[in-house]
Each structure stands twice: as C-alpha cells, then as structure tokens.
Subunit: 719 residues, 2 copies
C-alpha cells in the first residue's frame, strides 16, 4: 500500500513541471512587432471564444448536475438515494471544473507558445523552436493527466476511500466517483464539438474562398478568415483533444477501480487483509502515476541541441516514454499484484499503442498506397477523388478493428491465466476482464507525452501562420513548415491513439457497468447482456443509430457555419477591393465572430442528444438494453470515427502529395502541382475531409466515453 | 392444412401470369428502325454481360457448394454429417439456379420492354407506355416471388416435409433447406455487386466526361459510354434487385419455418394432431401465396385507359396490393392460427412498409428540406454540397431505425399476447418472436408488386434513352421523362422497402439461428447471445467492421472502373473529333467491355470476403460470437445502407432540383440552372452518390441476408 503515495507525488510533480515549462516558454524571445501583432490577434480570438464557450458549457453542466441529482434522489428515494444524488452531483461538478481548468491553462500557454516558437525559428534554430513547441504542448499534456489523476484519487479519498463499505462489505467510493468521469465527459463533449465546429467552419471558409476562388496561399493575411482559422487550430486540437484525453484517463481509472472491487472482495474472501486486497482498487492509479513520470521524462529527453530531424526527435521522446512505461508496468504488476501474467497484459496495451501509430501512418501518409490512390483519383476530378477517399476511409477500419480484437482477446486470455493463482473463480472472467483493463492502462500510460505531441501540432501550425503573415524570409518558413508537417503527423497519431484507447477502455467500462448493476442488485453476479432479446437488440440498434445521427448533426453544423463564413469572406472581398490589393486590412474580427457564434449555437443540439438518448433508452427499455446501446454504439462509433479521422487525414495528405509535386502526368511526365485541375480536385477532397477528421471523428471519441459514463452514473435508475 | 394447396396454386398462377405479361409485352409495336437499333445494342450488351457474369457466379457457386458440403460432411462426420452435407449442397445449387433463372428471364423481358415502352410513348399514350413498362417489370417481380415460393415449398416436401423428424420428434426439413436460402444469397451477392459496379462505372464515366467535360446532355448518342450506361440500369436495378428480393423472400420463408418448428413442438405437446401443429410451419408459405395473389391483382389494376398521372396510377396498384394483403393476412391468421393478435402483427408489418415509403420520399424528394438543403449548399461549391449530402445521409438513419425498433417491439409484444392462449411458455418468447416473423411476412407480401415497380424504373429509363438517341420529337420525350421520373422514385422506394424488410427479417433469422443451435445441441433451449463475453463482443465488433470494409471495397471498385471508363471516353473523343461533331459513331462496345470486365474482376474480392468472414469467425470464436457477428453486422449494415441509399438519392435529386430551375440566386432571383457552377457542384455530389446508392447500399442489403444464411447453414460447425 506504500505504492499509493506515488499517486499524489507524481500528480504534484507533474503540475510543478508544467508550471516550469510554462515559465520556461513564456520567458523566451517574443520576436518582432509584426509577429506579436498577429499572435496577439490569435490570442484574443482564442480567449474570447474559450470564455464564451466555457460559460455556455458550465450553464449546461449546472443544469445537468441538477437534473442528475434530481433523478437519482427522486427515483431512488430515501437516505441512500439522497447520498448518491449529492455525491454524484459534487463529483460531476468537480470533474467538469478539473477538465475545464486543464484545458484552459493549457490553451493559455499554447496560444503564447506559438509566438515564441515562431521567434525561435526566426532567430535561433529548429531545435529551439521544436523544444519550445513541445514544452508548450506539454503544459497541456501534463496538466490534463495530472489533474485527472489527482481528481480521481482526491475524490475517492474524500468520499471515504476503501473504508466506506455497503451492507455486503463492498467499498462504494468507486461507484460514488463515477460522476467525476461523467462531468469530464460532459465538458469534453461540448468542448470538442464546439471546438471542432469552430475550427472547421473557419478552415473550410478560408480555404474555399481564399485558396480556390481568390487563388491566394494558405495563411495569407489578405484572407479575412485567416485569424479565425489559426484560432480554430487551438480550440479544436488543443482544448478539444485535451478534454478528450482527460475524459479517457479519468473514465479508465474509475472503471478499472470498479472492476478492482470484484477482485478486492474475492481476495478478502481468501483471508487477506484489507490493505492486501485494496491493491486491486489502487493499482490503476499507481500505473497512471508511473506513466505520468515516464511522460515527464519523455518530454525532457527532447533537447534543442543538434536536432536535424524534428520527427525523429519527437519519436525518441516517445520511445523513452514507452520504455519507461513498460518498466513502470513491470514494477507495479510485480510488487503490487505479484503476477507476471498481468505484466504481459500491460505489454499488450503498450504494443497496441505502437500498432495504432503505424496503422495511422500507413493510411494517412503520402508514402503509401492509400494516399497515393486518392491523389491519382484526382486526375479525373473531384468526384472520383471523393469516391476514392471515402473508399479508403471505409477500408481503413479493418486493421484497427483487428488490432483491437486481438488486444482484447490476448489481454483477456493472459489475465485469465492469472486467475487461478489469485483464487478468482475461473468462470467469472473477473481476472480476464482485469487483464483487459491493464492493457488499457498500459496503452494510456503515455497519454501525457502523446498529448504534448498533439498540442505541439496547433502551436507549430500557428507559428507557421505567424511567420507567413509577418512576412518572414524563406529559410524561417522552411523551419516552421518542417515543424508544421511533423505536427500534422502527430495530430493524426493522437487521434488514432485516442480512438484505440477509447476502444479498449470501452470494454472495461461495459464490464464496470455490469459490475455496477450487480452491486445495485445486491451483490448478485450479472450474467450478461443477451442481445437476442428483442428490447436488448433494439437498444443496440438505437445505439448504433445514435452514432450516425450525432455525426450527421456535427458535420451539418460545420457545413452551415462554413457557408456563413464563405458568404462573409466573399462579401468583404467584394466590398473592399483594397483587401486583395493588400492596401487595407480585412475585418478578421467579423470572421472570428461568425465561427464563435456558429460553434456555440450548433454544439447544443448534438450534445444534448448524446446525453439524453442513453438516459431515455435506459429508463424505457431498462439496463440490459442500455448496456447493448452502449456496446453497439461504441463499436459503431469506433469504426465511424476511424473512417472520419483517417479518411480525412488521407484526403488532406493527398492534397499535400500533389502540392509537393509528386503527382505527374502519365504521358508527358509533367508535374501536376498547385493550380492544376488535379490540385483543385484534391482541395475539394481535403475540404470534405475537414469536418470528418476534426469535428465528427474526435467528437465520436468523446461520445463513446460519454455513453459509458452516463450509463454508469445512472445505472441505479435503469435496474 | 387444406390451405397449403394455395402455395403451389399461387406459384403456378404467378408463373402463368408472368408468361402472359411477357407475351403481351413482346407482341407490342417495336417502333422505328432507329429505335430498334438502339434497343438492339442495349439488349446485346446486357445479355453479353449477364452471360459472362452468371458463368462466373456459377463457377464460384459450384466451388462454394463443394466447400460447404466438404466442411459439413468432414467436420460433422458420420451418416448424419453426410446426409446434411448432400442435402445442403443440393439445396444450395437449387437456390442458386432458381435465383439466377428468375433474374435471367426477368432481364430478357425487361431489355425488350424498354423498346416497346418507347414505341408506345411515340405512337400511343402515356397510359399504354406505363402499362407496358409495369407489365414488363412484373414478369421479373412475379417470377422472383413465385420461384422463391415454389422452390422453398418444393424442396421442403422433397426433403421429407413435416414427416421427417429427428430423435426428439423435431421436423428437420426446415433445417435441411437453409442451403436454398444460402444459394440464393450467394447468387444475389455477386449479381448485385457485379451489376452495381457495372452500372455505376458506366454512369460515372458517362456523366463526368459527357456532361461535365464535353457539355453534352444525358443519353446523348455521341457519348461512347451511353450504351454501357443504359445496359447498366438493367443489370443493376433489374437483375440485382430481383436477386436481392428473391433472397429476402426465400430467407424469410425458411427462417420463419424454422421458428415454426418450436411452436409445432409446443402445440404437439398440448395434444394436438400433427396436421394441427403443422400450421406453424406452413403459415409463412401461405401468407406469401396470398401476397403473391395480391400483387398479381395490383398489377392488373393498373390499366392504360385515362392515365394522366403515372405516379398516381402506380400508387393505386400498390394500395390494391396492400389492402388485399391485409385481407389475406386476416384470412390466414384467423383460419390457420385462430388468433387475432397475430393478425395485428401482420398489420404492423404492412404499416412498416408504408412508413418506409414515406420516409424515403421525405429524404430523397425535392419537395422537402433535405434535398433542398443540399441544393442550397451547392451555391458554395462541390465541397459544401458533399458535406451537406453526407450529413443528410447520416441524419436520415434515425427515422428508419426508430420505425424498425417500434415495429419489432410492437410485433413482439402483440405476438407474445397470443402466447398464453396457445400454451406456449410465456418466458420463452417463442410467440413474440413468431409475431415479429409475421410482421416481416406482412411487409414482404407486396414484394411482387414492389419489384414490378422497381423494374419499371430501368425499363422507363431505357425507354427515355432510346427516345433521346433515336431523336424523337419533344412531346414523346415529355412522356418518357415523366415515366423516368416516376421510375426514379419507385427505385428509391424499393431500396427503402428492401432495407426495411431486411431489417425485420434479420431479427427473425437470428432467432432461427438460435433455434438451430438449440436443435443441434439436442433440443436444449439456447439462453441467448451474451455480448459481454469478450469473444462475443469481438465477434460483434468484427461483424460491424466487415460491413465497413465490404462497402469500402465496393465503392473503390466503382471508382477504379469509372477511372478506366473516363480514360476511354476521353481517348475516343480525342482520337476521333467526328464523334463530337456527330459524323462518326463512337465505339460503344469498347465501353461496354470495360464495364463488363471491371464488374467481373472487382466483384470477386468483396464477395469472397463476405462469405469467408462469418465462417472464419464461427469456426474460431464459435457460435455465440458468430451470432453477435451477424447481429451487430446487420445493425450496422442496415444503417450504413440507409446512409448510402438515401444519401445517394438525395444528391441525385438535388441535382435534378437545380436542373428543373428551382434554385435561384438569393439577391437577383435569377434561376441557377444547368451550366452554372451550382449545377456543376451538384453533378459532383450526384456522381459521388452513384456508387453509394447503386453499388454499396444495395450490396449491403444482400450482405446482411447472406450473413444470416451462411451462419444458419454452417451452424452445425460452430456449435
């Protein structure tokens, strides 16, 4: 049990390191006045949006907290219902605040790091620019994981820890803190949806009128939507993805602790002390703590001196994190669980993480067949480009799904091997399911580093924009272009990682839901979810449908907002010819406003739908249907998110493939680059992919976990 | 039991009526020599393709039959295994032949009806043209349903009927004839895939080079791909959809008979005679027979005299069919089952069919919001058109899914009410599941008429092409345009109907699978499918993945083939300027060849994947995982097919909305019709939608049922 102290220690350490990185980044050179001017406008726009967005989210969250507390208190009734209601409401608000805080602080640093990165590119070196961008991103990455860990642990202890048990002797604190995960999911859903709509409305609008109609380059200061586009990169990728992974880590921790309760009880029954048995409950927190330390080490391993290849430098940091994670996993499994089988479960998770990195690269990088096929299809126009890209998107679900299937089967099998040694009933599957949970923990150990790499993306993208808009010399652009290109890869990888870990976590969370149902039913083991029953089948079917409907709403929101943006940019160009001539400054603020208002308006309907649908299914068709809703919704969500994420990424890179002059005329051998019909076709594909990969896809990650947490929290009402 | 004679009677009657219709259509006026020339070329191309396609399919089918027989005989072993193996193989081949025969004869008549329809439009009236097209389509529609019904019944009797029982007294003939459904599914899969790839490769190629690049109208004789396009309409919609509904009706019959076995046993146990108990097994056949007679009446109800509105005339025929179906359902339930509750189950099915008709119209007709939204999004270019269309496609899954959910819940509930009166154990759900089966039967009663309306589509489409290519006067075109437009609607409705009935049939087929497993396990009732088990969860997940992967392959095949077609058309235009000048005739045959070869080549991989995947899952992860594979695959397939079908239909009609001059400039109020950038954007959307709605979507209907039949047939290997 002495291991538990690593949890607060690592959390506090990570917060301190984040503070150091923030200080380290902020004290750097801020470049020329022109640069500061651009960066200042981005900062303003980002903060204005975040302020308004989080105000809306918190109003919704308070309503949700009251409704949940009311439902739980009223429908369960009595003292027990009252206690459950207020614990859940407090945990919910706590989760919502912690998630928002992590995102907010991370954003503040990110939208200041972009300027420092640009300045370092202009005045120092690639290595310095890289380090600043990564450390700026690490503020967000480390805070997210640290606040999630500290939040779960702190709340668990606050709510009585392992000492607080029900009449059957089962610790109830893990069930009381599920509200924390729900609060985090709730904020994440709206943060990701709003951020995703914002960024893509701006991006689509800026590209279609700027690049396609007016023929001006990316990030050209004459484009009225350019600032909105740069702001969007931050609110989508940084704040949105941060909230997403905050939710993943929190939900995985809580779910695994609930699963630990079953093993706790079994261990106690074998005559162990409470302290000995409690390792099952604390183990997930300890593993996360080791992962956090590994991630800190990974960020420090990336140093400015002698960097010539940015991707390789970041990869080195990732491998440091992965190897330290494996060592941490070994220590934790050996000294806490005393069983080597569980270590191998963790290795399965770490390997799954690696597999997702390579699969994502295969499907989204110009080096391989998929992207080249889309680029080739651009020869016959936008329609065949779209058809090819969509086909690739659908096809690319296979390898991730098979990987997840193998990881689940392998970690279940490995975990089950440990069962007999622990005296767990073999048939119950408790050890096998704990094995899948450990694989999930293994995969999520590197979350801090991965998130730092992800936020690196918008920082370097913004740095490129600042360099372009402040008219810096060619060699500075080369540096920021190189970083930006690496940033695109890391953003794509993070999405793959997020979806893979969400898939693993999902199985753990279903199992936790069934355990919850069992506990509510008075300790009776729940047999399972029989999808052959008509109402359970219907529940599953509606779960899958929700995923499609939600995606439709998200994509439609971007389409509508982008339409408004296009109209506004066209209007400005027409009203003031000085804009295109470069003599007058476009009205950036107007475009920022359009994105802001559209995002806030359009995020509400899909968000409310996502929260309300599982509650309705659970209340009407009961818990087994709710479980099927959750499971089939999750399966479909994982696949559809993969279509969106990687399909969108492939379209994007097919366009870049053509822009970099790699597509040639079959007969003449001439380069078919920018300005050709082939390029125009590829731009259409890229634009279609924008809301796929940056709005619908990432929002689905969040939706999946929200389904899990909402059903966990409201399980008492569905039984 | 005297009711059973209506089965062969109605089947033979339908064959005779089909023969009469064929004679009636073929004796009609064949129009001018120019018309005959065009029609002759279409006929040749269609027959050449069908010959080659079915040759390939039958080679694959023979291989499949041998593999299945080998697997069953070898793995089950002994006399029982041997008997199962040869019965299944014979049934499989029989199903494959019957399906092929229905498709082939229907096609022969359809590709001759087009000419007669064109001639009637030129020389007689709208009413005559309508009647010829509908009766030409009815040959296919009636033969499909009749051969399916006669095949199932004949084989059932051939394999021993209800007298042949196993050691537990359970009739085994229903289990022995599942091979018939599998054979039909097998042919349907390749027919639909091949036909779908053929038609859309030709259509996309013809549109992109002809309409967009060369600026010539649809069906212009100067377009080298025009004949391939016209041939494609037949092989896709007529042969493909015919095979699809052949499979639906056969699989539904067989599945319902297997479900009837459980009630047969329960009824016998209550002391009834075998004849009394057997009604449960024969009931599905009798209902289909009544439906067939209702469909014949529906076709006869549409008469040439005084037709002014083609849609209304077809609707009248549909309502005749629906009302007679309801009466037939009442007679069958009252006199065979003696329970009013079951009649209401049938009514639920008939109402579901009506609901699907209206939902499909809402999402695919220019009168309502969805299509108008896509047309509006064309103002800002192809990218926003695609985004809007895709969002609509995703959104439009909700109403069909909710309809299916309600239909399942309602018919299960109504059926369960009948249970106690029948002495069926209430908890077993057998009566409820039989209720869902009756709803499916109710929905499929009108299959003959619906299919006649569907084949009406390609016939009138071709008639329009013949009129256009043979340069007929304006008023003749008005008639064929009116019919073609109605044909587009009926094609869309048929897809909605096909997917809705497939969804209802799916639940029945799962239940049949579980009954099969129970019978194989020696009469032990199977509890269900527990999706919380890791291997079952993985099975479900892989089932959903298969649907995505299969769709990706299907769409990609069209993209590749269309690319070849575009290259060929561009080559012909360049090589011979006389083509565009109208002085030389393009090489139609070359384009027909490209579509033919591409279709045959590209249909194999997705087809084999679809057959092999469920077998592998069943063999490795066993029956419960196979059941989950089937169920989740079906749910996802229904939703994705709805996205493809209605999304594609909406894009198509958004283009037509613009072409008909209904989109106007917001400021000036000018019509934004053909030739504008808005129209060009809508053409891109229509083209993207082509492989969605005519290749991937319809192929998914077939895939879903194939999954059911393959798992049913191979259930003995998975247990």
């Amino acid at each position: 049990m002495e291991f538990i102290w690593i949890v607060p220690l690592s959390g506090v350490l990570a917060v301190l390191v984040a503070a150091y990185f923030a200080w380290d980044v902020l004290r750097r050179d801020v470049g020329s006045v022109a640069m500061q001017d651009v960066a200042g406008t981005i900062y303003e726009g980002a903060m204005a949006f975040l302020n308004r967005q989080y105000r809306t989210i918190y109003v919704l969250a308070i309503v949700a907290a009251i409704v949940i507390a009311g439902l739980l208190g009223f429908m369960r009734g009595g003292e027990e219902g009252l206690s459950l209601a207020w614990h859940t409401a407090v945990a919910f608000i706590f989760g919502a605040i912690a998630s928002g805080l992590a995102g907010f602080i991370g954003m503040i640093v990110a939208v200041r790091s972009n300027l420092r990165t640009a300045a370092a590119a202009a005045r120092l070196s690639l290595g310095d620019a890289l380090t600043i961008a990564l450390r700026g991103g690490a503020v967000s990455g480390l805070l997210v994981v640290a606040l999630s860990l500290l939040g779960v642990w702190g709340l668990f202890e606050l709510f009585g820890g392992i000492d607080r048990v029900d009449v059957n002797g089962t610790p109830i604190a893990p069930s009381l803190i599920v509200g924390f995960g729900f609060g985090a999911s709730f904020v994440a859903l709206f943060a990701q949806l709003g951020g995703g709509i914002y960024t893509k409305a701006a991006d689509v609008g800026a590209d279609l009128v700027g690049k396609v109609e007016a023929g001006i380059p990316e990030d050209d200061p004459r484009n009225p939507a350019v600032i909105a586009d740069l702001v969007g990169d931050n609110v989508g990728d940084c704040a949105g993805r941060g909230a997403d992974l905050f939710e993943s880590t929190a939900a995985e921790n809580i779910g695994a602790m609930i699963l630990g309760v079953a093993l706790f009880t079994a261990t106690l029954a074998r005559g162990a002390t409470i302290a000995e048995a409690a390792v099952w409950i604390f183990f997930p927190l300890v593993v996360r703590a080791f992962g956090l330390i590994a991630s800190i080490a990974g960020v420090f391993a990336v140093r400015p001196g002698g960097v010539s290849n940015a991707q390789r430098a970041l990869d080195a940091g990732y491998w440091v994190t992965a190897i330290l994670s494996a060592i941490g996993m070994f220590v934790a499994t050996q000294f806490m669980l005393g069983n080597l089988w569980f270590f191998w479960c963790g290795v399965v998770g770490i390997l799954t993480s690696v597999a997702f990195v390579y699969i994502t690269q295969y499907y989204t990088s110009g080096t391989w067949r998929p992207v080249q096929e889309i680029a080739n299809a651009s020869r016959t126009g936008p329609a065949t480009n779209i058809i090819a890209g969509f086909a690739i998107g659908l096809e690319n679900t296979a390898l991730p799904a098979i990987t997840i299937a193998l990881a689940l089967l392998a970690s279940f099998y490995l975990g089950a091997q440990a069962g007999p040694a622990l005296g767990v009933p073999v048939g119950s599957g408790a050890a096998g399911i704990y094995g899948t949970a450990i694989a999930t923990m293994g995969m999520l150990m590197s979350a801090g580093y991965i998130l730092a790499m992800d936020t690196f993306g918008p920082i370097t993208d913004n740095a490129g924009g600042i360099v372009e808009m402040s008219d810096q010399p060619e060699d500075v652009r080369h540096i920021t272009d190189a970083l930006d290109s690496v940033g695109n890869t890391t953003k794509a990888l993070t999405k793959g990682y997020a979806i893979g870990s969400a898939a693993l976590a999902a199985f753990l969370l279903f199992s936790a839901f069934l355990d919850e149902v069992g506990i509510i039913l008075g300790g009776r083991a729940v047999e399972g979810v029989n999808i052959a029953k008509v109402e359970v089948f219907v529940g599953g079917f509606l779960g899958a449908m929700l995923v499609f409907l939600f995606s439709g709403f998200a994509i439609r929101a971007v389409g509508k907002a982008a339409g408004d943006m296009i109209d506004e940019v066209r209007r400005q160009f027409k009203a003031d010819p000085g804009i295109m001539a470069g003599t007058s400054r476009p009205n950036y603020r107007q475009c920022v406003d359009i994105s802001t208002r559209a995002a806030l308006r359009e995020m509400v309907l899909p968000g409310v739908l996502a929260v309300a649908a599982p509650i309705l299914v659970g209340l009407i068709l009961r818990w087994e249907a709710a479980a099927a809703f959750l499971m089939v919704g999750t399966m479909t969500g994982i696949l559809l998110a993969t279509v969106f994420n990687n399909g969108g990424g492939a379209w994007d890179n097919a366009k870049k493939f053509i822009e970099s002059g790699q597509l040639r005329d079959i007969k003449t051998g001439d380069v078919l680059g920018k300005g050709t019909p082939e390029h125009a076709a590829a731009v259409v594909g890229d634009t279609v992919g924008d809301p796929f990969k940056d709005t619908a896809g990432p929002s689905l990650h969040v939706l999946i976990k929200l389904l899990s947490t909402v059903t966990l929290v409201l399980a008492p009402l569905f039984v």
